[in-house]
Amino acid sequence: MNYETLLENLTKKDERFIIMTAENRAAIRNLPSKIGNRFIDTGITEMTLVGMAAGLALQGRIPIAHSLSTFLTMRAFEFIRTDIGIGNLPVKLVGGVPGLMSEANGPTHQALEDISIMRGIPNMRVFCPADEDDMMICMEKILNSPSPYYIRYNNRKPLYSHSSVFVEGKAEIISMGKDINILTYGILFSEALETSKLLESKGFDTGLINMRTLKPIDEGIIINILKKSKLTVILEDHFLTGGLFSIVSETAMKYNISGKVFPIAFKEKWFKPALYKDILIYEELTPLLLTNRILKEIEKI
C-alpha cells in the first residue's frame, strides 16, 4: 500500500480524516476524485491551510495538511505554533521535499531547520521516516495520534526491510556496534546503511540506528550508544543547529554523560542545489565519502 491509498482508506473508514493541501498535490494527486469534499485545496495559502486545519480539528476532525516543508513550517510557522501548538490539536502536517529531497530547487526550498523549529513547539511531535516502507509502517499510528505531528514526507524506495514494530519515541535498531554507531533519520538512512557496511568491511564493528521520531526522542538508545561507542556518528540532512546533533547534546547534558561524537550536518550553510546523486558527491555524503570522513575521525581517537 502506498501513502495515497492509505489516506484514501483512512478517509473512507473514519470520518474524522480530512485531506488538505496548499496546492501541493504530488503525493495525493488522485484523492480529489476519490474522497470528494473531504479533500480541501486552499490554493497557495499556507496560513489559511493551517488556520482552517485548526478550525476543523476543533470540531473533532483530524486534518492531514500538505505543503512543501519550507513553506508549511516557515511561512505558516506562527499559525502552527499559535493555533495547533497552543490548542494541542491533532493536526498532521506533512512536509514535502524536506532536506536533501528538495534536490535542485535551491535554498528557498531547502528545509534544513524544519525539525529544529517544529520540535520547539510545545505538544508538537516530529516523525522523519527513512524511506517509503518505513513511512508506511509507522504512518497509520502517527495519523491516529491525538497529538499534532510534523512529518517529513519520504517516498524514497527502500534498500532495507524495516521492523514492522513501531512505537512512538522508540528508534529502530538496525544493529549495535562496539566501535562505531551511526544515528540517523530520513533520506540519508540508505547512505548510512551502505556506510555501515563499508566500515564493517574495514574491520570496524559498526551499528546503525534509525531514529524514526525525533520528538518524542528515544533517549535510552542515545544514552546507550554514547556510553558504548568509541565514536558516535550523527548523520542528518539538517542544519547542525537544532536537529539530531542538538537533541543528542541535550540528552547527554541532561544525563551527565559524554562520548566521542562526530556530527555530519550542514553547518551554517545550505547545500549545493543539484540532483540527489550529485549533491551527495558534492557534499561528501556518498557511502564511500562518508566512510572516508568517519575513518579520518576515528583515527584521531
Binding site: 480541501i40 486552499t42 495559502t45 489559511t48 488556520g51 485548526a54 476543523l56 476543533l58 490548542g87
Partner: protein
C-alpha cells in the same frame, strides 16, 4: 424589534460596559476596542447566535470566534450577562488563580478558541464552517475582526479562499471603529474603499451601525445561509463608545485607570459628563 427588546438590549450593553470599565483598573485592559464592539456582541448573543449556557457544547450551536482578541473584556462582560460565565470570575481579572487575562482562551466557557495574534481566526472559523457544511448542519459561524486587523496578510489570504469554498454559513463582522493601536486607520494604511474590496473578493457585503440594535437587526436578518457566498458585515462603530472622555482618542487604546477614575467613569457612563483623566496611557504596542 420591539421597544421593550431594544431597552432590554440597551440595559444589557450598559452592564457590559460597566464590567469593561471595572476591568480597566488594577492592570488595565484594551478599553477602547472593547467599548466599540460591545453593542455588536450584545446584539449577537441576544438576537442572532444560537448559543447559550444550555447548549454551549452542542455541535448544533452557532459558533462565535473573536479574532481581535484584545477586546475580550467586552466578550467577558457579554458572556456574564448571557449566563455563560460566572460573574464572580471577573473579580479574578489578571489574577493567577483564573484565566481572565488580556486575550481570550478556552478556559472561559463560551470562548471557542484562543486569540490574541491578529489575523488568525478568520481561517480557523473557515475550518469550522467547512466542518458544519460537511455535517450538513445549519448552524452559523460568526467571526469578529478588527479594522486594524485588516492590515494582516493572512486576512486577505483567507478572504480570497472562503468564497471559493462556498462557505455561506460563514459571517465575518468588521468592528469598523476606524482606529488601530496608535492612530486612525486611514492615516496609516488606508483601508477604504472597504465594501468594494470585499465585493470584488466575491463576498456578500453588508453595512450597519454597530451601535444601533434596530439597524443591526435590519442587516443581520437579511443574511441568507444558502447564497453560496460568505457574508461580511462592516459595522461602523466608535472607539471608546459610551465614555465621551475617551471616545476616539488615539491614546486611549490600552488604559490602566485608578480606582478613583473608575468611579468617575462609571458616573460618566450614566451621565455622559466627561471625566478628567490623569492616568497615563500604556502604549504597549
Amino acid at each position: 424589534m420591539t421597544v421593550d427588546k431594544i431597552n432590554e438590549l440597551k440595559k444589557t450593553a450598559y452592564k457590559v460596559r460597566e464590567h469593561i470599565i471595572k476591568m480597566s483598573a488594577d492592570g488595565g485592559c484594551f478599553i477602547g476596542a472593547s467599548l466599540s464592539c460591545t453593542d455588536i456582541l450584545v446584539y449577537l448573543y441576544n438576537c442572532f447566535l444560537n448559543v447559550n449556557k444550555n447548549n454551549s457544547k452542542d455541535p448544533q450551536r452557532d459558533f462565535f470566534f473573536l479574532s481581535k482578541g484584545h477586546d475580550v473584556p467586552a466578550l467577558y462582560g457579554t458572556l456574564v450577562e448571557t449566563g455563560l460565565l460566572d460573574k464572580a470570575r471577573l473579580n479574578n481579572h489578571l489574577k493567577t488563580n483564573d484565566f481572565i487575562y488580556w486575550h481570550p482562551n478556552t478556559n472561559i466557557p463560551g470562548v471557542e478558541f484562543h486569540s490574541g495574534s491578529l489575523g488568525h481566526l478568520l481561517s480557523v472559523a473557515m475550518g469550522t464552517a467547512y466542518d458544519c457544511k460537511l455535517k450538513e448542519q445549519k448552524n452559523k459561524v460568526v467571526v469578529l475582526l478588527g479594522d486594524g486587523e485588516l492590515n494582516e496578510g493572512s486576512i486577505w489570504e483567507a478572504l480570497l479562499v472562503a468564497p471559493s469554498l462556498k462557505l455561506d454559513n460563514l459571517i465575518a463582522i468588521i468592528d469598523r471603529n476606524k482606529f488601530q493601536a496608535n492612530t486612525k486607520t486611514e492615516n496609516l494604511i488606508k483601508l477604504e474603499p472597504l465594501s468594494e474590496k470585499f465585493e470584488s473578493f466575491r463576498w456578500n457585503v453588508g453595512k450597519t451601525d454597530g451601535h444601533s440594535f434596530i439597524d443591526m437587526e435590519r442587516v443581520f436578518s437579511k443574511i441568507s445561509g444558502n447564497s453560496g457566498k460568505p457574508t461580511i458585515i462592516i459595522a461602523d462603530t466608535i472607539r471608546g463608545k459610551g465614555l465621551p472622555s475617551i471616545e476616539e482618542k488615539a491614546d486611549r487604546w490600552f488604559v490602566n485607570f485608578t480606582y478613583e477614575e473608575i468611579e468617575d467613569l462609571l458616573i460618566e457612563l450614566r451621565t455622559k459628563e466627561k471625566t478628567i483623566l490623569k492616568s497615563e496611557t500604556l502604549m504597549v504596542r
